[in-house]
């Protein structure tokens, strides 16, 4: 990673912090209180933002998987690995937040509702691909297989989206054919949260990829040293 890129990181972090603070203001002060559920409904903003960032991360992983297979550069594998990890992090956060919201509102921690089930299944799939990398094998093979798995695995995302249409569900639909089913000030808070979380995603990716690069350098250096040992 070039020195210039490393110098830009504090700027990005600073911008992220600003966006996060703004989103917190939007969520807790600007957004109105929901009539039926009360304040607990505010979980909605971070819940949806987490879920969306999860999907974004898996989309990026799919794209970088394709790029890896096309160019065979290790850099794309690092992007794939980082994006899958971070996507899994945000998807899990979304599931937990959803559960914490469901308990007071639906009176249960979990239901085998299609949206929840397909999301859980998606998380299990990507967790498995991460586990696969730890089971050994050459870096090149892991990168190749990881690329294919993240390309094919992206089909999970439309499955989660269409779960609402394929089954009957108690999960509320925000995005309908007639536009956003959400009040204007809530929309602002939602967009603020989305922006903040996307910025967070960029920060996390940055640091994670930097670590992956370091790992690569360390292992390469180790190889060079042991290769010349008598």
């Amino acid at each position: 990673m070039s020195q210039d890129q490393n110098d830009a990181l504090p700027l990005v972090v600073g911008l992220t912090a600003v966006l996060v603070l703004f989103s917190l203001y939007a969520v807790f002060i600007f957004a109105p209180t929901e009539r039926v559920m009360g304040h607990v409904q505010r979980i909605f903003y971070y819940h949806v933002a987490s879920a969306w960032v999860g999907f974004l991360a898996f989309l990026v992983a799919c794209a970088s998987g394709l790029l890896y297979l096309a160019k065979r550069s290790p850099r794309w594998d690092r992007v794939t690995a980082a994006s899958v990890e971070i996507g899994l992090l945000f998807s899990t956060i979304a599931l937990v937040e959803g559960s914490l919201w469901a308990r007071p509102v639906w009176n249960t921690w979990w239901t085998w509702d299609p949206r929840l089930t397909t999301t859980l299944v998606m998380c299990l799939y990507y967790a498995t691909t991460l586990m696969l990398r730890r089971l050994g094998g050459s870096e090149e093979r892991n990168a190749r297989v990881g690329a294919v798995l993240s390309i094919v695995g992206f089909v999970n995302v439309p499955i989660v989206f269409l779960a609402i249409r394929m089954w009957r569900t108690i999960h509320p639909a925000v995005l309908t054919t007639s536009g956003f089913a959400v009040a204007p000030r809530m929309l602002v808070a939602l967009l603020a949260s989305l922006l903040a979380f996307t910025a967070l995603y960029v920060c996390l990716m940055w640091t994670r990829i930097r670590v992956a690069r370091l790992e690569h350098d360390v292992s390469a250096l180790r190889h060079r040293i042991t290769a010349t040992r008598p």
Partner: protein, 223 residues
């Protein structure tokens, strides 16, 4: 050797090997039956609720048995390094995939064809309708096409038996959904118009799955 002749040769090899030993087939059939019986014990099936549970039960049995068969299909190749021999053949790697997919589908269909009559007797559910067999066929192709790809991925790994189902099942969620829904509708005697959308979904999944697998198989199998 031309592409399709290579495919046919690999399929013939698999079928011949299986016909001699009948290992995979008997394992799959017995496992499917065991699953059905276990479910019966666990769920206390009675005559009045059989039709509600039968579709799910059938497809769970097929999935478990299918995973068993898929695991063995590549495990058998690894024994004595057959897979390297196959890869040295001067033919596109995707031929190996197509052949494996065809033989896996054939074995699964055979096991299912033996399972369903027994299931019909045990649970008093009619299985004669051709629509049911169409659903079974389309669902099996979808399952086997994705399964063959992931079996190749899991093949070289230590945790092969765990990895295959963990990777495969999320991807075949559309197949399972469409298959169980349309099976339920067929068993209830509904018209073709009722379950045609599910059949279309299955067909679309099958085609997309095979295409993607053919495109990505070579990246998964090179050493």
């Amino acid at each position: 050797m031309s592409y399709w002749r290579s495919v046919a040769a690999i399929v013939a090899k698999d079928v011949l090997a299986e016909a001699r030993s009948r290992e995979a087939l008997s394992a799959m059939l017995l496992f499917a039956l065991m699953v059905a019986v276990t479910f019966n014990l666990a769920l206390e099936l009675r005559i009045d609720n059989v039709l509600q549970i039968a579709p799910g039960l059938i497809w769970v049995a097929f999935v478990f048995a299918g995973v068993l068969g898929l695991n063995r299909s590549f495990a058998a190749e690894q024994d004595r390094a057959c897979i390297e021999g196959l890869m040295l053949a001067p033919v596109d790697r995707s031929a190996i995939y197509i052949a494996k997919c065809i033989s896996n589908t054939l074995f699964m269909l055979t096991a299912e064809a033996l399972f369903l009559p027994v299931f019909s007797v045990l649970f008093r559910v009619p299985v004669g309708s051709p629509a049911l067999w169409l659903v079974v066929f389309l669902g099996t192709v979808g399952f086997a096409s994705a399964g063959t790809l992931f079996a190749a991925v899991a093949m070289n790994s230590r945790a092969r038996e765990i990895l295959l189902p963990l990777l495969l099942l999320p991807i075949v969620v559309p197949v399972l959904t469409a298959a169980t829904r349309s099976t339920a509708q067929v068993l209830e005697g509904q018209t073709l118009a009722a379950y045609a959308p599910w059949l279309r979904l299955l067909l679309a999944f099958d085609i997309i799955s095979v295409v993607i697998a053919v495109l990505t198989f070579e990246y998964v199998i090179e050493e």
